[in-house]
């Protein structure tokens, strides 16, 4: 399973999803955690949709975020990506471990 977490500082969960600076993607298969810059920040409209598309391309199965806007929500649903709530400020690994445990 691949988990994605929006992050601005590279260490904790961001406040937002679609326009977060980066996405940290954790692959359960090899326990790797890679941070990808979110280019969607520059999109005038539909950053949420773009983010969903980007993460789907990376094979993400679950998104951990404090909230997800309506466009992002629709995009993630279309991509079959599940959304699990994770509080802003939580350390990335802690959020991911908590989601895996569920």
């Amino acid at each position: 399973m691949r988990y994605a977490v929006p992050t601005d500082d590279g260490e904790t969960v961001a406040k937002v999803f679609g326009r977060a600076s980066s996405f940290a993607i954790f692959d359960q298969a090899d326990s790797s955690l890679v941070v990808h810059r979110n280019d969607g920040i520059n999109a005038e409209h539909g950053a949420g949709t773009g983010a969903a598309s980007f993460l789907a391309d990376k094979g993400v199965n679950v998104v951990l975020a404090p909230e997800v806007g309506p466009k992002a929500s629709a995009g993630l649903a279309a991509a079959g990506i599940e959304v699990v709530v994770a509080a802003t400020g939580t350390k990335l690994r802690a959020a991911i471990d908590a989601a895996i445990a569920k």
């Binding site: 409209h45 539909g46 949709t49 969903a52 279309a78 991509a79």
Partner: protein, 297 residues
């Protein structure tokens, strides 16, 4: 003149709440006494001009306004994703070759269809609003109304403008959306003259400058009506003089006028207002190069 014999006056404001719709309604009423006139409500997100009239009756049918949104022809789709790349509004997702379209977000521009190499996108109309015509206490009125929650105002405004042109009135008074963003620019486009309604506040002056620049940029003459004159201290007239925009009318602030305005009532019994509106209309028509109020067709 925009069209054989039609003069189009757009009433705009830069800022909401200055009394633009009130002024537009009165100008149309005064104009109708002299020539075939139609009041066109282009504030499509919340058209409220009809609220000023007691007897509003539908005349003619409401016409649906739609934009063309894409629909996938699955059999022909190769999953190349070029449609998603072409869309600048985030309305198309292509994930693992599967295309999903969000028609609510689609602007109807057709770029995706242009981009598809497999002719796998067809276009179907999606309703975004409607245009209606009314008889409002004897005045011909036309209204564009955008569907609640929709944001595709351009299509509704353009449809209302087109329908207004078909009415062949001698005078078209457009009630425009406030501001200078997309909807306002489309509402003003094609007008022979813009009446900018301002009030004596700093806010209004700030927005008035932007509106005047817009009109100038589109090569349309403009003049300012100072509404609620005396209500505030800001020097609208001074601003207009510095910017080279003529002041074509002043409506003094009076409590009763404010109360009526808030309740969307006309200043019908106010002779001073009628006189001022006639003067404003005459100046606007003269500047637009039309025959003046009282002239013969």
């Amino acid at each position: 003149m925009s069209d054989a014999g039609t003069t189009v006056i757009a009433v705009a404001s830069g800022k909401g709440g200055t009394g633009k719709t009130t002024v537009a309604a009165h100008l149309a009423i005064r104009g109708a006494r002299e020539m075939p006139t139609v009041l066109v409500d282009l504030d499509v997100e919340a058209p409220d001009a009809s609220g000023y009239f007691k007897g509003v009756r539908r005349s003619g049918d409401a016409s649906e306004v739609s934009v063309l949104v894409p629909r996938l022809v699955e059999a022909r789709c190769t999953g190349c994703g070029l449609c998603a790349k072409a869309c600048r509004f985030g309305a198309i997702l292509s994930i693992g070759g599967v295309v999903t379209i969000d028609p609510k977000v689609c602007k109807g521009c057709g770029s995706c269809v242009n981009a598809c190499p497999a002719a796998a996108l067809e276009e179907i109309p999606m309703t975004v609003g409607q245009t209606s015509s009314f008889d409002a206490d004897g005045l011909a009125m036309l209204e564009g109304r955008m569907a609640i929650g929709d944001i595709r105002s351009t299509a509704v405004i353009e449809a209302a403008k087109k329908r207004a042109a078909e009415s062949r009135a001698a005078l078209q008074v457009r009630d425009c959306p406030p501001g200078v963003s997309c909807p306002a620019t489309h509402a003003i486009e094609g007008a022979d003259y813009v009446v900018l309604v301002a009030e004596p506040t700093e806010f209004s002056i700030h927005d008035l400058g932007a509106a005047a620049r817009l009109a100038r940029g589109r090569g349309i003459r403009a003049g300012v009506v100072i509404n609620k004159d005396g209500f505030g201290d800001a020097d609208v007239a001074g601003f207009c003089e510095r910017e080279g925009i003529p002041v074509i009318g002043r409506i003094a602030f009076e409590r009763e006028r404010a109360a009526s305005g808030a309740a969307a009532e006309l200043w019908s019994d106010d002779a001073a207002i009628s006189g001022e509106m006639d003067a404003i209309l005459a100046r606007a028509l003269a500047a637009a190069g039309a025959r003046t109020v009282g002239g013969r067709r």
